[in-house]
Symmetry: C2
Subunit: 436 residues, 2 copies
Amino acid sequence: MGDLSGYKGAALRFLEKAGAAVGDVLEVRATWGTVTGTLVPRYLYGDGEHIVIKLKSGYNVGLSLGDLSGVRVVAKGDRPSFSPPQPPKPSKGLPKVLLIGTGGTIASRIDYRTGAVRPAVTSEELHAMVPELSQVARVEPEIMFDILSENITPAHWTRLARRVAKAVDEGADGVVITHGTDTLGYTAAALSFALAGVPIPVVLVGAQRSPDRPSSDAPLNLIAAVSVAGTASFSGVYVAMHQGESDDKIALHRGTRVRKNHTSRRDAFESVDVPLAAVWGRGGLEHVADGLPPRGREFKPSPRFDGAAALLKFYPSMPGGLVRAAKRAGAKVIVMEGTGLGHVSKEVAKELRLFIRSGGVACMTSQCVRGRLDLSVYDTGRDLTRMGVLPLGDMLAETALVKAMWVLGTGAKGEKARKLMAEDLAGETTTRTFPG
Amino acid sequence: MGDLSGYKGAALRFLEKAGAAVGDVLEVRATWGTVTGTLVPRYLYGDGEHIVIKLKSGYNVGLSLGDLSGVRVVAKGDRPSFSPPQPPKPSKGLPKVLLIGTGGTIASRIDYRTGAVRPAVTSEELHAMVPELSQVARVEPEIMFDILSENITPAHWTRLARRVAKAVDEGADGVVITHGTDTLGYTAAALSFALAGVPIPVVLVGAQRSPDRPSSDAPLNLIAAVSVAGTASFSGVYVAMHQGESDDKIALHRGTRVRKNHTSRRDAFESVDVPLAAVWGRGGLEHVADGLPPRGREFKPSPRFDGAAALLKFYPSMPGGLVRAAKRAGAKVIVMEGTGLGHVSKEVAKELRLFIRSGGVACMTSQCVRGRLDLSVYDTGRDLTRMGVLPLGDMLAETALVKAMWVLGTGAKGEKARKLMAEDLAGETTTRTFPG
């Protein structure tokens, strides 16, 4: 009987019946085709309904038992002769960093036998994956949830904000949050508002390539995040990801100004229209922007979010019905992604006017991603201003949406909500003048 | 009585009563405030309900009579002593270029007296604005419509496509279309599909700064567009805009791969994930990409569009109701802008499944803007594929929406529509492999 680490329930029985063990090469028949790959261990919180195999391409695929009609062991895996290295005793002088896992692949370790991905939940495992961590901080790992980041909701942001606030109370020198990259930018913005004034560095970090692939960005991103969280002289919410495609510099982005601008590159994340907050190299922080807040500020978390806000991207001939639908779905704030300097068609403008008249708050951002709104240049913009649409300057559309959910979470309504949306609370909008 | 060129109806009476003339500095009181600026002439197709004044900032503002409570002449304008220069007789040997105006500021001329913006509708006016044009082509200007580009609809695309097809029949060597920059990318994509195989160059061109401002990009963009339309050895649909902030190089972008990525910069337009089609310098084309189609191809326009497609951008906690609303508004195709490699939440995925079951076509693109989808890496992606969501590779979301409207315009439905969406018809998607 081979090792079936982490498998349970129906998945365990399915594999036992086939005589399969972790590390074996399996040919699996599913309703949608046949795949061949190496069986990898499941992790602690895995369900009993999937098996996971590593394809030749390096990607791991989770296969749902319901889809599987058979499995055959093509080759037995080798039993490795070595064990993972043990971490040294962490030095008492090192800073204390809470490492919160939310389900991204970044905080996973490379299995010593199969190269498979598992969340690293113990200090030993973390050390096995990234030995350097033991030299920069006493890392206390904690998995809060384990979901694909596209399923993150405002409720998760609230839990994360509360946990970070607790870590501050507990005396943590910094917090690192590992997160799937898909919605990492949204969560970074959410925590920037919920934790405005946080006295320590809170660094969100992800990986574009899973840690078991030779090209993975996971180890370096994680080392940088922990190093910055533990030792930086500044505080606030940041995202740590590769600055370029080469594996040497990590960019620290401000939480409200960062966007995933590429599906797969290691340097997919970019600071939009603002300088990087900092750059980290293998020797430590190499560059820190002026004006970042120091550690030890006053801090009163405001962790509640209310999801009653909608983001609508304008397009030619967009039906006004989509604005009404957002309202019907409960939206009290609508963030439009208009064209250019902040425009929408007459039909959509008419619906926004009705939405505002019924008590809703309508905000404008630009689908250009970069640059700043100016609603004073063209008729359309002035009409929108006159009807009460709120221009959000150079705020990112995604950040504006998250901010709206946070504003609603504070209980603010009507004029109060409008005022909060327009103010700069966490670096989400700058007051540079229009460069025309 | 001063000159009130172009003013008519109520606007003319309002200005006459105040003793105002074009070129005078006026202080205008509106319901929303007071503005001071120079009265500029209206253009040929202006209505009688607005007056236009040029602010100190260089921007022109159109003021609606309904908002105005008074006007005062602050200073009388100077009468200039010169007339616009006359164009030379165009040389018979020059290529013939149809210049279609749609309402952007680009095809406007600088008024010799006030510096104001008016559409240039005669060869004389065009010459006055951009004398160089007479040296590169016999330009035949024609204003098709005069709207702000956020109000462009698929019906306008159809009219434009038909006019270009007629120009081909008439023996034009090239066509230039001036267009507001807000939705220039959408229209470029639309014409790329409607005019696939067009045997001449069709160049869309806009301006980020109006021609009366010293920093305007209008003249050079227009010269480049006319030059390329008239003389390039390749055919197809392109966008001509500044390559950088300096006023020397014009980038030619492929019509299906171009996006306005900044609200105000002169080089706001970028080719996404593909090389530029060509670069034009003051001496002519300096670089032309390999593989552009030659002139003189087979050509059968397909100018119809059907607006029954919707673009929805996913965001955390997006309500499934927005998908149902798009269907209720008549959408037969929904283009999702998912996160990362092409993901949406379980709730939205469930609604897409219902949409597909009811006969709709659901397509996936990425809100990352750059990069390529891969629905095989994560569970979410494989679930979406299984339920029939169509991944569109590296197709831009905006291009995908326009393509869907074109596909529907051909009368294609169901599987036929899916097949057309997935195929590369006009360079809208490339077949590079995922760089993982």
